[in-house]
């Protein structure tokens, strides 16, 4: 696909410079500023959620209870999950969407800039509430990020009310963000930017946005039901009042499964942007990639009960969900094959974004394999609620989603800041992360198979050696991310100047703009051939 910009560059329109200081950031409606805020917020939350993971791994370093009591441990696992899902991964992808989508489609900004500002600023508010709930009497939420009833309704303390409130706000933020993405892509593409010309990152975010619109309201509903069951005498999930605790799981996972695809589809878009650049070869099977992503999105609505195989479903239901879950492997596999085919007979170089992208392809696929194993219902009876599951979702979310976000950061930082990142630091970051993340999560497959359940603060002696190893991997991985913080900080401050093109093989409208791009870009739409 070849794209040519119009004659004028984006700096022909001169608005007054943005106000300086705090006011600029508080009132901004600029997609670049908002994108930056989302990304920095996500980075901060990544460290906070990561700190909780360090507490978890410190306690699990040895058998016995050394550092924290079980109730606090449960709060750590719960809030670690909530922060990583809703505070790190989702806002990071939204930040990337904000920065990149307008530039990639030749639009001057997002469709609804003021709503965009609100979408961001309610997030720090929501997370402050969640984090403050940890300091309440009796502690914060301790029922897992999945908050099953009746543990979350009858058997929880009042921090549940703050938890519900904060989840509602996060949901509103995501929904507003999704609406903005859809309206922007539908209505603001430059002339010539036809649907099947859009970069795959834009496609995957478009599909993700539809998933968000479909399921975030369902989360809002179920979290409201938890609130009313707890405080207002309803019995959605209480057998005594005619309800059913398993109903909670059905409604939650109807949201929950598409949610995990919401957390991976943008990653697929990022990898599909990076690999062609460094292979110097067009993405293989563009149309197929679009169809595969759509199939994954549609199928994601049909598999929710694979999280519930042990709840006592009848056989025909277990079979239905097993077959549908196995089926998702097909379009996912197709995507992996297409990336490999993109690399095949290319002329590759291995800059840091490409290194993270290759790591993604291998390690996400490993996560996919454990996912396929989990799909097999009879085998799942042995894996469910063990560390095998923990291994699976951390592979797809950390070496999957998080690595793709890091890859995206390295890929586009020169464009955003106008400076190249420090290559040496970045290489150290890559190798330390790659090794430590595998020391951290790979052994979890084994402890899970050996019988260690999840969400426990203490374990039987045979799990001790592996847990010690896993904890060391965890500490190392956490420390390695400080390197990333340093890389980002230094890059923003300065460094080798980046050209507009930045990467030799990069294609797309954003690479026509200067590095950094003007505060307002494509105020006149570019010509797209």
């Amino acid at each position: 696909m070849s794209i040519v910009t119009s004659g004028h560059h984006a700096d022909e329109h001169h608005h007054s410079a943005p106000p300086a200081g705090f006011k600029r950031w508080l009132y901004t409606t600029n997609h670049k500023d908002i994108g930056t805020m989302y990304l920095l917020f996500a980075l901060a939350m990544f460290f906070i959620g990561g700190a909780m993971a360090m507490v978890i791994r410190a306690e699990l370093f040895q058998p016995g209870l050394q550092l924290v009591d079980p109730n606090f441990f449960n709060q750590m696992t719960t809030v670690h999950g909530l922060i990583m899902v809703f505070g790190a991964v989702m806002p990071a992808f939204t930040g990337l969407a904000n920065w990149l989508i307008p530039m990639m489609i030749g639009a001057p900004d997002m469709a609804l800039p003021r709503m965009n500002n609100w979408s961001f600023w309610i997030l720090p508010f929501a997370f402050s509430i969640l984090l403050m709930s940890l300091f309440m009497e009796g502690g914060g939420p301790a029922f897992g990020w999945t908050f099953y009833a009746p543990l979350s309704t009858t058997y929880s303390n009042d921090s549940t009310a703050l938890f519900v409130f904060s989840v509602h706000i996060m949901g509103i933020s995501s929904i507003m963000g999704a609406i903005n993405v859809i309206v922007t892509i539908f209505n603001m593409r430059a002339p010539g930017m036809k649907w099947m010309k859009m970069p795959l990152f834009v496609w995957t975010w478009l599909i993700t946005a539809f998933l968000l619109i479909a399921v975030m309201p369902v989360l809002a509903g179920v979290v409201t039901m938890v609130l009313t069951d707890k405080y207002f005498g309803t019995s959605f999930f209480d057998a005594a009042g005619g309800g059913d605790p398993v109903l909670f799981q059905h409604i939650f996972w109807f949201f929950g499964h598409p949610e995990v695809y919401i957390m991976i589809l943008p990653a697929f878009g990022i990898i599909s942007s990076i690999v062609p650049t460094f292979a110097r070869k067009p993405l293989f099977g563009y149309a197929s990639m679009v169809y595969a992503t759509s199939s994954i999105a549609l199928l994601s609505f049909l598999v929710w009960a694979h999280h519930m195989f042990t709840t006592g479903m009848p056989v025909f239901a277990e079979l239905f969900f097993m077959y549908c879950t196995m089926l998702i492997a097909v379009p996912t596999g197709v995507k992996v094959f297409n990336w490999v085919a993109t690399m095949w007979r290319g002329a590759m170089t291995f800059e840091i974004p490409m290194m993270f992208a290759i790591a993604f392809i291998v390690l996400f696929t490993i996560g996919g394999f454990s996912g396929l194993m989990l799909a097999i219902t009879p085998a799942d009876f042995q894996y469910h609620d063990t560390y095998f599951v923990v291994a699976h979702f951390h592979y797809v979310l950390v070496t999957g989603a998080v690595f793709s976000i890091i890859a995206a950061a390295y890929y586009w930082l020169p464009k955003w800041t106008g400076y190249m990142y420090n290559e040496t630091l970045a290489r150290w970051h890559f190798w330390c992360s790659l090794i430590s993340v595998n020391v951290l999560f790979f052994p979890m497959h084994f402890v899970g198979l050996a019988g260690m359940p999840r969400r426990i603060p203490d374990y039987a002696l045979q799990f001790a050696d592996f847990n010690a190893l896993i904890s060391i991997g965890g500490f190392a991985f956490g420390l390695s991310q400080l390197l990333f913080l340093l890389v980002v900080y230094k890059c923003v401050q300065g460094g080798e100047k980046a050209s507009a093109q930045v990467w030799e093989g990069a294609e797309g409208l954003e690479w026509q703009l200067s590095s950094p791009p003007p505060y307002h870009s494509f105020t006149t739409p570019p010509e797209v051939k």
Binding site: I179, N187, I213, P217, A239, V246, H250, P314
Partner: protein, 184 residues
């Protein structure tokens, strides 16, 4: 470039959000309906069964197992009169559950049934059941609560044993659940 009007799309998307929020709540009755049709959660039909399907099939014998569990914190004594009964599908049987309130004050209880295997729940037809209504007992009083039922002759051939468990809850503080009335 002429600015596009975002409003129509925006309205459609907001409408979708509202619809999906409603859908989340609609899943509650949808689940009940789905369970009633397929019996997947082991809940028996909460309605009085008619008598027309009660044609005994002497070729087949089904064992029905009766369990009783007072909920934690429910001080009543709650036990089935018989723990097992051999019945023919279609044959009407009457059993009783004994309930006794050992405390000094009146209490109201609600029995909630659960059947295993779940799919058998659809075929467990109750003509009279103490679980249809709340049960009130004065302090110290006892009661033999009736359950009149038949196993539907259409019960799948591979089911030979049906376990019926009742959990007894203390609902003295709650709003009363509507008692079940006779179906047509």
């Amino acid at each position: 470039m002429a600015s596009t009007n975002h409003r129509p799309l925006l309205i459609r998307l907001l409408f979708s959000v509202i619809v999906m929020f409603g859908f989340g709540f609609a899943l509650v009755p949808l689940y009940d309906v789905f369970c009633e049709i397929t019996g997947i959660n082991g809940k028996t039909r909460n309605e009085v069964a008619g008598i027309e399907r009660a044609v005994p099939d002497k070729q087949r014998t089904i064992t029905v197992q009766f369990l009783a569990r007072p909920d934690k914190g429910m001080p009543w004594v709650f036990e089935p009169e018989v723990t097992r009964l051999e019945v023919h599908p279609g044959q009407i049987s009457l059993v009783h559950y004994q309930a006794q309130n050992p405390t000094g004050s009146a209490m109201v209880a609600q029995a909630v049934p659960s059947v295993s295997p779940g799919t058998a729940a659809l075929y467990f037809n109750k003509m009279e059941c103490f679980c249809f209504n709340q049960q009130r007992l004065d302090g110290g009083a006892a009661l033999a609560m009736p359950l009149q039922f038949y196993v539907d002759p259409a019960l799948p051939a591979d089911i030979e044993l049906i376990t019926l468990a009742y959990t007894l809850y203390d609902v003295t503080q709650r709003d009363p659940i509507q008692p079940v009335t006779q179906t047509e």
